[in-house]
């Protein structure tokens, strides 16, 4: 997301103002970027309502004539625009170094676009007599131009509104990639696409949007790659551990205390079957069965190949890295969460692997180390069931017939359930 913190440019208030307006536009322009599959999920028409009305491309606040005739200069302005916005994105990583750079860029950017900005602001001022601040201008300007667009649909539109279907867009992307993204010129793209009903201007505006999207994508991919690297580090650590099963257990114990049964977990684990690391699966299965029971005659023991260390699957981590990083401490990313729900299907599996069940009235001496499941985890599990009755049964045991239960209860003196008073 291009959510820019306004605190960044303390040196240049002017720039700050401009930056804010740009960033606000940008963040409003690209609301869908939080999700994956940007290009597919984004309906280009919706994103730029009212902007594709022909002459105005207010998001970059550029003179459309320049846009039409001078692709290189447009690119430059665009580049500087995008880099200035981008730099704010990378803020967290290299603040100090880039501060100078981006001051320069934003200085030049705002310098070059300030005049245009004023132009556009003045243009917008007309429909919008109300707002004073530039940022509001930016926002309202868009909206008013949207309103204008709808009004002036018949009048001002010189280029026909294009419906960018996925197919069309795909061809567009093909053409662009053929030419090279940076070199792709609308006229050439038009040639390559060979579609009659597209004008050069349609392509030009679409190209502009596409380029912005790409920048976003790349930024996010870079971030995802970072995560992937880190996961790979842990993944590398995990595989040798797979061999030493016993060594795993104390390591896992604290994290296996209780699996976080968050609502996300169900889709979190569906992709796992794709990755199944066979050896590790088996070792994990053995790990689990070893501790509670040393026999293989475990009740419902499905050969679950759904466990596996999440390998470096960039898209996966891209989507879920936040969740993973929240739930895990470094060093334990590979096992706990993927195991959690499937673990239940593997029959009585303890919450804590070294489960020395000394209490419960079956053996006399109270163990010195109490491996009994903690009250909190039990409470959490129970609470979970109570609040989410729709959840599937963890073990999926065959339910008894209601009648027999009720009958039995009546014999015990419980007339009806649920009881009116517990």
């Amino acid at each position: 997301m291009l959510a820019v913190s306004p605190l960044r440019n303390t040196r240049n208030d002017e720039n700050k103002g401009k930056m804010e307006s740009f960033s606000i536009i940008s963040s409003e322009e690209f609301p869908d970027f939080a999700e994956g599959n940007l290009l597919e999920s984004i309906d280009f028409d919706d994103l730029f309502i009212g902007i594709d009305e022909g002459d105005m491309l207010p998001d970059l606040e550029m003179d459309p004539e320049i846009l039409a005739d001078l692709p290189t200069s447009r690119c430059d302005v665009e580049e500087s625009m995008n880099t200035s916005v981008e730099k704010t994105d990378e803020d967290s990583s290299q603040r100090k170094e880039e501060e100078e750079e981006e001051d320069k860029i934003s200085g030049s950017g705002s310098g070059s676009s300030s005049s245009k900005g004023e132009e556009i602001f003045s243009k917008r001022e007309e429909p919008n007599a109300v707002d004073k601040t530039p940022s509001k201008y930016a926002v309202k300007g868009r909206k008013s131009s949207a309103a204008q667009a709808k009004n002036n649909n018949q009048g001002k539109r010189k280029t026909k509104k294009v419906d960018w279907t996925p197919e069309l867009h795909r061809r567009f992307v093909q053409a662009v990639e053929q030419l090279g993204v940076d070199k792709a010129v609308p006229s050439r793209i038009l040639e390559l696409m060979g579609i009659d009903c597209l004008t050069r201007h349609n392509i030009a505006s679409h190209l502009q949007k596409y380029r912005s999207h790409r920048k976003h994508l790349l930024a996010r991919e870079a971030e995802a790659a970072n995560w992937t690297q880190r996961r790979q580090m842990y993944g590398g650590a995990a595989t040798p551990v797979g061999g030493g099963k016993r060594d795993i257990s104390p390591w896992l114990a604290p994290t296996m205390g209780f699996p976080p049964m968050s609502p996300m977990h169900h889709h979190h684990f569906r992709p796992l079957h794709v990755w199944g690391h066979p050896t590790l699966d088996q070792s994990l299965v053995h790990l689990w069965t070893k501790h509670p029971a040393h026999t293989t005659s475990q009740p419902p023991q499905p050969p679950q190949s759904t466990w596996g260390p999440p390998p470096a699957n960039p898209s996966f981590w891209h989507h879920h890295h936040q969740r993973v990083s929240n739930g895990l401490t470094p060093g334990t990313p590979c096992f706990p969460q993927p195991i959690a729900p499937t673990r239940f299907r593997a029959a009585p599996v303890p919450g804590i692997p070294p489960h020395h069940h000394g209490t419960g009235g079956q053996s006399g001496p109270h163990p010195l180390i109490d491996f009994h499941p903690s009250k909190e985890s039990i409470d959490a599990a129970i609470g979970d069931v109570l609040t989410k009755p729709w959840l599937p049964l963890p073990l999926g045991l065959k339910p008894p017939s209601t009648d027999s239960v009720l009958g039995e209860l009546q014999r015990q003196g419980v007339p009806k359930i649920p009881p009116s008073c517990a």
Binding site: Q298, G361, P373, I378, A381, L393, P400
Partner: protein
């Protein structure tokens, strides 16, 4: 009326299954459900029994695993006790 009973029983079953995952005994389960979910122990026990009837194999294996754990824990426990004794006896001279 029948439906609410069924869903209630279903809920109790769900809770019991959770306890099974924690490797709890029937008594522990009754206690936990009573404490945390306000379910009368007699109800828990009845549902447990019924479940056992329907899923004999499972519960047999479950019981086996439980007993094995106990044996292990006893060993572990006695070892720990011995260790404690030896530790404390080594400490004694200081006191």
């Amino acid at each position: 009326m029948g439906d609410s009973s069924t869903s209630y029983i279903h809920m109790v079953q769900h809770l019991i299954e959770k306890c099974l995952i924690f490797n709890m005994t029937k008594e522990e389960c009754m206690e936990a459900l009573s404490k945390h979910a306000n379910i009368k122990p007699v109800i828990t026990s009845t549902v447990w029994n019924e479940l056992e009837k329907e899923n004999k194999e499972f519960f047999e294996a479950y019981a086996q695993s439980q007993s094995k754990q106990d044996r292990m824990s006893e060993e572990e426990t006695s070892r720990m006790i011995q260790k404690m004794i030896s530790d404390s006896s080594s400490k004694d001279p200081d006191e």
